[in-house]
Symmetry: C2
Subunit: 288 residues, 2 copies
Amino acid sequence: MKIGFIGTGIMGTGMIKNLLAAGYQVDVYNRTKDHAQAAINNGAQWQDNVASLTRSVDVIISIVGFPADVEEVYLGKDGVLANAHEGQTIIDMTTSSPMLAEKIYSAANKIGVAALDAPVSGGDVGAKSGTLTIMVGGKQSAFEQQLPIFKAMGSAVTYFGGTGEGQHAKMANQIMVAGTMTGMIESLVYADKAGLNLDAVIKMIGGGAAQNWSMDNYGPRILQGDLQPGFMAKHFLKDLRIVLSVADEMKISLPGTAVAKKLYEKMVSIDDWGELGTQGLIKLWTEK
Amino acid sequence: MKIGFIGTGIMGTGMIKNLLAAGYQVDVYNRTKDHAQAAINNGAQWQDNVASLTRSVDVIISIVGFPADVEEVYLGKDGVLANAHEGQTIIDMTTSSPMLAEKIYSAANKIGVAALDAPVSGGDVGAKSGTLTIMVGGKQSAFEQQLPIFKAMGSAVTYFGGTGEGQHAKMANQIMVAGTMTGMIESLVYADKAGLNLDAVIKMIGGGAAQNWSMDNYGPRILQGDLQPGFMAKHFLKDLRIVLSVADEMKISLPGTAVAKKLYEKMVSIDDWGELGTQGLIKLWTEK
């Protein structure tokens, strides 16, 4: 079984390493070849373009930046589906739009290619250690066939249902994160202004009904002035934009998530703040 | 050491039981005597009014409804401070305004009465089991003197600093809860509309970076249709109103918390929804 992997960023590099460790042959392609060097050093085989990669492998996995990149990779003139053959499977692990997942599934289905949407959470740490949470949508038979691949990259692999449901599950996750991130930042901003000992506040919050992973993990980093990305603000903003556009199509109002999007929009518009981690949102208060 | 306890609601009743179990004599007063019956049955002594209660005890503890109630209890014509004597200690455990805590401290200080603000979190369950989180503000010497009393009621007792800092810490906690509650509700609303299996969504969220106590605890209750209060929506709205009014005085903007307040305001304005638990917020989407 040969895997073609498109996208060798922080996430992809970790995931490829775990696929290689599980015994898969992995061919890789990335828009910027330099960024594929770590994967190549770990034993992956470089391919010069999406077309040659597609023709050389059984399963194609992608984790790229934005929905527009996903669309180009799969539906572009020289993309995956223009070069795919019957019996192959494509798995997009980018956090992307559920509607785009359906569009890709439909195009793939016409030429006998199975398609799964399988976004992840768990960040660079999860990618490296093979402990990602993977949320899968698509045909159940295709999911079951590729389960060993998912298990090589993640520790919690859940099949959510038909095409797009993996993306929907990821959106539900990001809506929750929008709440914990804005709550955490506003809580720390308030506590700081009130002159409280922030270590004591973080500890107190962690022990009660306000407890959450964001405060437990990012709270101490913020106090140390560490705003480096686990997860980049500009990517979270992308996710929130997808969430709200999908919510709009579904005719549901998500006012808390909308506020989070506005705040991250403002943050990402300033200097290079978009490259900071999501916890960097606090700069809107501390450096405004 | 004799304690006078004002406010025998769900919280007070549990706390009084633990004070009695720890060997304290407890006199009680409540606006509605009927609601003090459980405390009396547990061994507390009834007092007919705040004045007689104040004159009979060494330490006065209150946990009542709203800041206006706190103000009346302590600063009213027949209130605690009109009847207190030098050497007594007063402890308000209501979630109330930090500015009111300062006003009470100042009036108490003039007549030689020590004052602490000590709001709690942990709900009725924590009150019953003596595992409340207690956030204390006031003079450190007064805090240390009353520590055994706090330890009889709570498992995590933290001194946060001068007068009002206990209330400020509680506000920081409630800001965080505003984030987890709105995030949780919007996440479940989205997931439901997208046709996802909500049990799987709750489990998935609980295993990753979106994890939080609200989803872990209220998520399953919501799926079972259980909107009964751990913590009543109308009381949470009161807390959010205090937060935003204090933030306003401190000139900090808390847009996520402001949205939560708006949503709970709407919820509490409908029928008897204010008596539901905070998780009942979901009715704004499911029954609108």
